[in-house]
Each structure stands twice: as C-alpha cells, then as structure tokens.
Symmetry: C2
C-alpha cells in the first residue's frame, strides 16, 4: 500500500465586493500564503456556510489545519500571530494601537459612511430583494467619501504609509474598501491628489494583482480600475 | 527645592450607557488598573474631544504615559499587550481567535441588532434631536435579543465561560451590552435560564461593582439592575 500525501489547502470563503474579503486576500498575498477562493453568496444563508460562521458573513478562512476563522479582524490578528515573518501590525504596542485604530476607522466608520451607501446599495441590495438603490444613500456616500480621502491625504503628508513608516493593515483595509468603490467608478481621485498618489503605490504592489483581475459576471469593472496610471 | 512626584493618572472618557465604555471599565477593573472617569457627551463633538479621537466616539483612554487610545478593540488589545498578568484574551492563537470572534459578535452583531435598537433609540437619540424612539426599532430589538440570549445559553451549556474555560473579553463584551439593556429593564432574563445563570456569575465579580453603582441623572436604573439575585 502506498501512502499518498494529502494536499491540504487553505480556503477563503469570500465575495467579490466585500472589502473585508479583499483585505484578507491582501494579507494572505503579502505574507505569501497560498489559498483557494470559494465564492459565497452569504445572503443566501446556506446551511453549510452557517455552520462555518453562525454570523453568516464573509470572509471565513479555513486553515489547512482545519481551524475556522470568521471575520477580518479575527483572521488578520490570527495570521499576524501565526505567520509573523512579514509584519503588518507593527512592532510595539503603541504602533499596533495606531494600526488597529485605522483598521477600525476604515472597516467601521468608512464602511458605514461610504461603502455600505454605495456598494451595498448598488449590488447586494438587489439580491436581498430590498428594492432599488436609495438615491439618498448614494448621495450620502458620494459626499462622505471626500472627508475620508482628505483624511488619507492628511495622514500621508505626515507619514510614509497611513499608520507610520511601514505598510500595514491600515493601508490594506483602506485600499480594500476603496478598491470596491473604484470597481464601480465611485472614487473621485482627481479631486484628491495625495490620496491618489498613496493608492497608486498600493495598487502597484504584487499583492494587489489578483484584486485588479477581478471580473464580476454581469458587472464589468470601471474603465480605470486596473490601470496603474489612472 | 523639593521635587514633588507628579501623580499621573489614567483617564477614561466614557458615557454611561455606552457598552464599549463599560467594557473598558471592566477590563481595567479585572486587571486592577486604577483610572479616573470623565463623562463625555460625545454627540456634542467638542473640539477638545475631537482632537483626542477624530472619530468622535467613546471610549477614549489616556494612559498616564500620555498615549491616547480610541475604541474598545484598540484599547483592549493594547491593555492585553502591556498588562498581560491578568489574561483576558487567551493563551494560544486559536483560543484568542474564538475570544475575538465573540467580542466581535457582541460588539458588532448584537450592537446592531439589539443595543442600538433599544439603548440608542431610548436615550441618545433625543440628545441628537432625531425625534422620538422608533417603535419598529424597539420591536426589532426586543425580538432579536431572544436569539442572542439563546446563543449565550448554547455556549454556556458547552463551556465554563462564553469562549472557553476562562473568563475573557467575550464575557466582558456580552455582559457590558446586556448591562446597558438591563439598566433599562429590557432583558427578558426569566425566559432564558442559562443566560441568566451566566450573567449572575459575571454580575457578582468584583470588577462589576462600579457598573452596578451607575446612576444616570434623570434616568434611574430598573429595579433589579443591582440585584445579584434577580
């Protein structure tokens, strides 16, 4: 009897325009960790998926060890602890606090004020049969994004990357949200030069390549989405 | 010239019925770290406070070293790193992932489905001049809380505390949210015996005492709020 080595695989359950899913893809790519993607229509609340994550949300990461991790915060902290060679969370408690503060800023505040108003309204909402996009939500999202792009400009005038001298989870989180909006053509880059320069630097990292190749069936990306010189 | 030792102090900017503020108070008390409380009406967006936390939210912790930490996740991770003697976040990556998952569950999912629908509608909303409480929001909160109390029961039937054998940030986060609702008399404890037994155990911890002494001007607590035998 010959033993075959079973090829165990890391699996990421994701959705294309979920910024939290994209953040995890970027973290894994920055750390050179290979993974397979499984597209999950999480709003269908399939039984098999609800067992993995009773919160019913993407991303969910199944490590080859079998451990199941739900949610971007949980996954990013875990990957930092287990694969620390490429550090994305800072080296000292104060630096980590600033990186985590900005991760929260984009994943909570930006998400509520911008991402949900635009990405959710324009895409996921129709799958939930919740009617057509709300024009007041879209207007709010398009107004709010300016303050956040100004904030990115403010930070990058003072620092090399958003949270300090090193590329970190703060940059990943902000870029993941903006990449979803950019896919829809909803980022007014030309009114925010510093933010645009920062995003161009993130966009040209090797970890970003697979994100730029994304093609949603029936919803092609905005013309400049892949363009490194936008 | 005699030198006087300056007594530097840790300051927590908080709001009474902010579950995130209560969570930080509990973490500090569990770790035996002394602090002064400053009540912050964060919705007034006072300039001095916006400088501390541009997100304009409580809690904000000013350490005696001068470092400023914003938000419960950031603060709790920082305190675990700097004051690890009393561990509240687990000892291994997998255990920490489960504790963080449940911290997120209560601070994001429970917050959105229950806390905001009841605490925000009944208290903070009037300070924002956003009108009277929405009866549909309150109805939603009162319905949703049952699923979460069942989930606490499910977890505590299998584990000593919510995330495992040790008392952790998962218990603190869940109890902080429930204590705000309990202050308003909005927790149907008698329909959820396992959750009630778990909460009675949390409530009797020394770290919980100051929470039970809270008295908001003009809004006294529900009759059983302090009662350890409720």
């Amino acid at each position: 009897v010959q033993h075959q080595t079973e090829k165990t695989t890391r699996i990421l359950y994701h959705y294309w325009l979920s910024p939290q899913s994209r953040s995890v893809r970027l973290v894994l790519a920055e750390k050179n960790l290979s993974f397979d993607l499984i597209l999950e229509y999480f709003w269908e609340r399939k039984h098999e998926f609800m067992i993995l994550n009773p919160a019913g949300e993407v991303p969910v990461l199944k490590e080859s060890s079998g451990i199941i991790l739900s949610g971007y915060n949980v996954i990013s902290e875990y990957l930092e602890e287990v694969y620390p060679d490429k550090n994305l969370i800072g080296h000292h408690p104060a630096a980590r606090a600033e990186i985590r503060r900005l991760r929260e800023w984009f994943d909570q505040k930006f998400n509520k004020e911008v991402t949900l108003n635009l990405v959710f309204e324009k895409t996921i909402k129709r799958h939930l049969n919740q009617g057509s996009p709300s024009s007041s939500a879209i207007r709010a999202g398009k107004t709010n994004i300016h303050y956040h792009l100004d904030y990115i400009g403010y930070l990058t005038q003072r620092r090399n990357w958003l949270a300090g001298s090193e590329f970190s989870l703060a940059d990943i989180t902000a870029a993941a949200h903006l990449s979803c909006l950019d896919y829809l053509g909803d980022v007014p880059w030309n009114e925010h030069n510093e933010a645009k320069t920062w995003y161009a630097r993130v966009k040209s990292r090797p970890s970003f390549r697979s994100i730029l190749e994304d093609q949603m069936p029936g919803l092609p990306p905005y013309k400049d989405y892949k363009n490194l010189d936008f």
